[in-house]
């Protein structure tokens, strides 16, 4: 078959483009360490969260030198902890820390999203969403539900406070 030179070049460039796309995503995974949220968090009984070791007393827990775990229950229409607007504690962690969020729902599907960042997951009743995030700089972030969950969905919000390390008071009992 007689293929024109330009067409050969175009076919070659299209193949290179595909390899280039795959290479950049591979870099994101291997180099930058970006991870997709999967089902590794396991399952829970959404009707008995009070008896669960992790969600019976949700909050921030220090598990290593700069490592924290944050257990969050999303319910219509608040995050516990997180929704300081509804009387709950805000989520407060120190800067330069690695924080793993464990988020589950006690009722319907919610979202757990820190707007302006890539921290975002769906929260499904019976499932635990596990996501690890590195907070480098002190900053106050918002927290939003981004899955329509009922009549007051638009007010389901919270706060994630990343405070300077020397101002961090130790987590629970804030």
């Amino acid at each position: 078959m007689d293929i024109h030179t330009y067409e050969k070049a175009w076919l070659g460039a299209a193949l290179v483009l595909i390899v280039f796309f795959i290479a950049t995503v591979t870099y994101g995974t291997v180099g930058a360490g970006v991870e997709m949220i999967d089902d590794s968090g396991g399952t829970v009984d959404p009707n008995n969260l009070a008896d669960h070791e992790r969600f019976g007393d949700p909050g921030v827990e220090q598990v290593g030198e700069n490592e924290y775990e944050v257990n969050v229950i999303a319910s219509a229409f608040f995050f516990r902890p997180g929704s300081d607007q509804r009387g709950f504690d805000p989520i407060r962690v120190p800067a330069n820390s690695t924080v793993t969020f464990y988020v589950t729902s006690s009722d319907v599907i919610h979202g757990f999203s820190i707007p302006g960042t890539n921290v975002n997951t769906m929260v499904i009743p019976g499932e635990v969403a596990e996501l690890t995030v590195e907070f480098d700089e002190p900053e106050t972030y918002g927290l939003l539900c981004n899955e329509y969950c009922g009549f007051d969905h638009h007010n389901m919000e919270g706060t994630v406070e990343v405070v300077p390390e020397d101002q961090y008071d130790g987590g629970d009992g804030q």
Partner: protein, 65 residues
């Protein structure tokens, strides 16, 4: 008028100004335009992935498990 023996769609001989062989056909303008589109596409991907996505930290991180 074309000869009755010409296949349909063939221009009459008198209408052909210049005949090109396969390799002489050289649509350089189209090639330049496509190259330009290609570079825009690559540039937009680089911007979307590295600036808007990876630059939009914090990001969910982990070790490939």
């Amino acid at each position: 008028m074309s000869q009755p023996t010409d296949p349909p769609g063939t221009p009459p001989d008198s209408a052909i100004e210049r005949e090109l062989t396969h390799d002489e056909f050289d649509p350089i303008g189209t090639a330049v335009l496509i190259t330009l589109y290609f570079l825009i596409l690559v540039g937009m991907w680089l911007f979307t992935y590295f600036v808007e996505f990876l630059g939009n930290g914090p990001t969910v991180v982990g070790v490939i498990g």
